[in-house]
Amino acid sequence: MNKPATPNSFRTGPDEQGMFGIFGGRFVAETLMPLILDLERHWNEVKNDADFRAELTDLSTHYAGRPSKLYFAEGLTRHLREVSSAKGLGGGAKVYFKREDLNHTGSHKINNCLGQILLAKRMGKKRIIAETGAGQHGVAAATVAARFGFPCVVYMGATDVARQSPNVFRMKLLGAEVRPVTAGHGTLKDAMNEALRDWVTNVEDTYYLIGTAAGPHPYPELVRDFQSVIGIEARAQILEQEGRLPDTIIAAVGGGSNAIGLFHPFLDDKEVRIIGIEAGGRGLDGIEHCASMNAGAPGVLHGNRTYLLQNADGQIMDGHSISAGLDYPGVGPEHSWLRDSGRVDYVPILDDEALEAFKLTTRVEGIIPALESAHAIAHAVKIVPAMDKDQIVIVNLSGRGDKDVHTVASMLGMEI
């Protein structure tokens, strides 16, 4: 791709058509177009509305537990300094974790769900639908639906239903109906297709609560704005705790909502290096990965143009990742734009590397990270030993890993 000219600010997108450069847009069936325009109208009304903001802040504080802490990961820092010394480098930056794992429901997903449920309420909608991969977004959506008294249907690939049964049970306890999707490989992509089919059928009363910063405009923008609380807090917290901005910030990218939430408030801080981590799966040589920005090409799926894993005929491929939350063949459109503009570096981390980081963090920090977050930590493990001791790295710990212990146990050949 041609590299776009460097803009004055990286924080002004999308444009009025919902585009980030060539990415984003509104590639949906006509039936959905009036609904998306209606959503955009309401979103433009509430985004600067003081009452809406106050209600969201109150819920974020007292219901979700915000602000999440910025934690100096002393155990991991010490470990990586030992690694650095053993290599004769004598360095090792300070590592901080942004603790989204401590939020209600155990991940950053609640930030977006609280914002969107308030929007659905304002729009007078009566029914919530959502798609989910690992079940983290499904649980968060079912949670806010329970809290606000909406019936909720969650579409989940049949493969994911089988491998994430604890989250399926949680959603059911919360009163949601979980509909397994058998089409395709039965993963997140197929769940999203089925949610769109539901929406196109139930246009009058249904609100589609998308879980990531992707889909047709205005979803990528509104999900980003609801998740930007992560970066806004982290930026203020590091200034307070260290008196300066970090050198590097890192987050894992599936659809990319936790990453864009952390990155966006830092985009115009030119001295801050920003790194997004894609699921490298079993390696980028084959097809068993989800590194759409490293090994895919721009295309159109699920309402937006973005980097996609696809074949030469434009058919979308099923990716692979050890982490169900990263198991998606696309990525939010703003990430695609940030990639092409060069502001953010996107690099892959393999299944094995994520698994090692998962084990390491559990051992030296007493924190079990989500496998998604373990991808981001794994990259910190790679780069921190070569950095100076007075440098600072923030890693987004987007969720807790309790949901992943079955997956990890089976990877390690253990029975639980």
Binding site: Q17, G25, R26, F27, V28, A29, E30, T31, L32, M33, P34, L35, A183, G184, K189, N193, L196, R197, V200, T201, N202, V203, E204, A297, G299, V300, L301, H302, G303, R305, L308, Q310, A312, D313, G314, Q315, I316
Partner: protein
């Protein structure tokens, strides 16, 4: 510049009957069988052919067309082969209009300019691209119109009077009215409401209005055709193919013959539509 679609619609108008528009999935279950189905359609009474381009993620389609698309992809169908199918068909029929129907990504990956050039060379007359609403007209609609290919837009029950002019603005050939909010293959909507919607759209345009989504039987084709300029049948045809395939995809009867039998009945339906309306 009049296309085959314009000419065919004008001819049917003088005959005083609606068009039978038939959708089938290109490459389902394999190239040769699918081409034989395509060739059988006009002989059985189809007036316009919609040639489905398979896509891995058809978000507006129900289970029947999803499955047909997967069968076609498994059978090795690609956009290159779908264009070749149109071209092979054209060798024996230079009159029946062909409309390519599907999703944008395969076209985008093929390259819009190259696609339009090859589509014209293959005898394609129109395009229906489900995920390109008027807001994205610069992508393909405008280039297609410049190249002389009709861009047929979907209008739906959610397209209100305020929005209709925007939807109709760059539409040509005909307007495809989607009879209900939903995916292909769902139950037919209230036919009274459909008739009212067709009348509403005709208040905004001189283009023919064809109605699709949910029409499966000759009787439904007759009732819908009483008020519309055309009736689109897709899922029923795709099902006729699926019904003669065994569990491993082997043919248990001739799919082209199964489709021809169905389409023959539908053709009777549209031919009696206006007689019924006059009663």
């Amino acid at each position: 510049m009049a296309t085959r679609i314009d000419r065919r619609m004008a001819k049917l108008k003088t005959e005083g009957r609606p068009a039978l528009v038939t959708y089938f999935m290109g490459g389902d279950p394999d190239y040769d069988t699918s081409l034989s189905i395509m060739k059988a359609l006009p002989k059985a009474g189809a007036d316009i052919i919609e040639l489905g381009m398979p896509f891995s993620d058809p978000m507006a389609d129900g289970p029947a067309i999803q499955a047909a698309g997967l069968r076609a992809l498994k059978g090795g169908q690609t956009l290159v082969k779908t264009l070749k199918m149109a071209s092979d068909f054209r060798a024996g029929d230079n009159e029946t209009p062909i409309v390519l129907m599907g999703y944008y990504n395969p076209i985008y990956i093929y390259g819009v300019d190259r696609f339009l050039k090859d589509a014209i060379a293959s005898g394609i007359d129109g395009l229906i691209v489900v995920d390109l609403p008027p807001e994205m007209d610069e992508e393909l609609c405008i280039p297609a119109l410049k190249a002389g290919i009709n861009f047929i837009r979907l209008a739906t029950p959610t397209t209100d009077d305020k929005r209709l002019p925007k939807v109709l603005q760059n539409t040509s050939g005909f307007v495809y009215y989607v009879s209900m909010t939903g995916i292909t293959g769902s139950a037919l909507a209230d036919t009274g409401k459909v008739a009212a919607a067709v009348k509403r759209i005709k208040g905004h345009t001189d283009l023919p209005v064809c109605v699709g989504f949910g029409v499966k039987t000759a009787e439904q084709a007759r009732v819908i055709g009483a008020n519309a300029d055309g009736v689109v049948v897709g899922t029923a045809i795709v099902n006729a193919v699926a019904n003669v395939l065994g569990p491993k995809g082997e043919k248990t009867a001739d799919p082209a013959e199964a489709v021809a039998t169905l389409v023959g009945g539908l053709a009777q339906g549209v031919r009696s539509a206006r007689l019924a309306a006059a009663e």
